[in-house]
Amino acid sequence: MEIAEALRADAARLLAEGRAKLVIGYQARGPHRAPAFISDPAKVNVLVYDNLCKQNLAVYLRKPEVRLKGPVAIVATPAVMRSLMVLAAESQLTEATVLAVGKDAYHGVLDLAGAAALLKEKYADLAPEPELLEALAKLNALSPEARARFWTGQFAKCTRCYACRAACPGCYCQRCIVEKNVPQWVSAAAAQHGNYAWHVIRAFHQAGRCTLCGACEAACPQGIPLMLLNLALSEEVAKRFGEKPGYDPAAKPVVGSWKPDDDQGFIR
């Protein structure tokens, strides 16, 4: 529990010094890990950190009720720090106070630039799990018809609860396309046509922005393997544009920028 102890000490210090008025970290709730929102330095003891702490806490930085209690310091794994880089690159935040935790290590209190440096120095080679790469390779080897059957079966489970969207730090639109209902742009029916449209739109809107943190798939109450979609698009972005989002807080968005030497092979 060394990491947790260091986290608690720094959280208490940040709150006591007034550098943060709210620390967001993890606490235990039975077998689950739930977010902890701490304003009182005397209450930092609820903070825990272990490999069950997987929720991407960066998602709370956009929540109005949370912002009202700021300035915020956030317990951040490399995945969370990468989300912060994307948010900074997209002008959604200008600064951050992170309590940086890594694989079996605690890296202390960092600002945005410090987190960027840490990511580049120690976590530049973050790669998807081998099982995920293997599952995507298997899926890619199927015929388009067989792939369509696979996704039809997966999307049939979707209830349109939008937990995938809500859990993603990158899904921060004030009004999502599925909420544009005058007229209704995307069918709200949890049926094949609406579900297909929703999942394809969600994945496309993440192209070049997704850091593969896995929050969407972990959030899905129906167990839809969304990471297969995310990884397929990420691989495409890496191959065509050489980009790996979530490292540079000043990066230009892949889909929102143009370079003369961009691959234009798709124009036929």
Binding site: P35, K157, A163, A167, A191, P225
Partner: protein, 348 residues
């Protein structure tokens, strides 16, 4: 009594399917156990509470409730038949069966034993047709996890509310006893035929589910605390999705949408939830529930206050799915416990 070997649940399903039932049962699907239409060869898995309730087989996520044709100035409605196949919900959970009785209050008030509250004149034909066609056979829970709280909301791991028959684990998990509780259950036992043997078995004790909060106290507190700052505190972790409502066996809100082309229109009833911002958004742009705090308040108030006031029961059966599946790690039982504690502190 009617007994069958514990590993013969699929044989029971097969016999019921052969007798003309659509069998829905918990079957493992990847990482999840899901209540789904049973197909030959599928193993029924009662080892954990499934991710979905049986609600969707009586009140589907999306349902066509009307069709129209439009030709020039002509508008012609077309009949829509309710799809209500004869169904056996097999080896489902007592908390799901109990939820169907709660939903009857909304969708079928005024029938035997169900009061008809003032100003509530709604009868849902589709629900009632499917309810009539469905035989519910829960399995008594012999294990509970940390998110189960049926005993806090008037239920029990061996409760039979809403059940037409009940399966009980027996002889240390080696057998099941199938006990019919009414005419639908008797018909199901008869349809099962030789799969069920006449025999003796000793029922295993039901799970121990500790009481985690005082539901009456929660109802009472809710009545006077619409503006409490507690709502904002307890809902900080809410990320604003509908996972809790859609896995809930009693949540029953829906939205009606028309999907039309130039020549035809389909009117759909889709699940909807108070957890999403669009739920209460007015066409003016005003939203009377502008944040997750007010949406969470609605979730708790509806289940523990408004429903009690209108229909005389809680609208929660303690299945714990919302806590198991919440991407923000929230748990309604935890919120209710905090309310219970807030009330005790206020009384002191």
């Amino acid at each position: 009594m009617k007994v069958l070997d514990a590993n013969k649940l699929s044989d029971l399903a097969a016999a019921l399917a052969a007798a003309g039932y659509r069998v829905v049962a918990p079957v493992r699907d990847g990482r999840e156990i899901r209540v789904q239409e049973w197909k030959p060869g599928a193993a029924i898995d009662t080892s954990a509470v499934p991710v979905n309730s049986i609600k969707e087989f009586l009140f589907p996520r999306c349902e066509v409730i009307a069709r129209y044709r439009l030709e020039g100035d002509d508008f012609s409605p077309e009949p829509v038949a309710t799809d209500a196949p004869k169904t056996a919900a097999l080896a489902v959970r007592p908390c799901d069966a109990a939820a169907m009785v709660i939903l009857d209050k909304v969708f079928n008030p005024g029938t035997a034993g169900v009061p008809w509250p003032d100003g509530w004149e709604y009868k849902d034909d589709a629900w009632n047709a499917r309810r009539e066609a469905t035989t519910i056979v829960p399995v008594v829970c012999t294990a509970a996890d940390q998110d189960c709280f049926c005993t806090s909301v008037g239920g029990a791991p061996d409760a039979t509310a809403g059940a037409d028959a009940v399966l009980r684990s027996a002889d240390g998990g080696r057998k099941f006893i199938l006990q019919p509780l009414g005419p639908k259950g008797q018909a199901l036992v008869a349809a099962a035929g030789a799969v069920l043997a006449e025999g003796d078995a000793k029922a295993d004790p039901p799970a121990q589910v500790p009481v985690r909060f005082d539901a009456k106290a929660v109802t009472e507190w809710c009545g006077g605390n619409f503006e409490s700052p507690l709502w904002r505190e307890v809902s900080l972790a809410c990320i604003g999705c509908g996972a809790c409502a859609y896995c809930c066996p009693t949540c029953h809100c829906f939205d009606i949408q028309d999907e039309a082309t130039r020549t035809e229109s389909v009117r759909l009833r889709n699940w909807d939830t108070c957890g999403l911002s669009l739920f209460t958004l007015h066409s003016s742009g005003h939203n009377p529930r502008p944040d997750q705090a007010s949406r969470w308040r609605q979730r708790v108030m509806h289940k523990f206050s408004y429903f009690v006031e209108k229909f005389g029961s809680l609208a929660c059966t303690g299945c714990g799915r919302c806590a198991r599946l919440c991407p923000g790690g929230m748990a309604i039982a935890q919120v209710c416990k905090e309310i219970d504690e807030a009330r005790k502190a206020a009384v002191k």
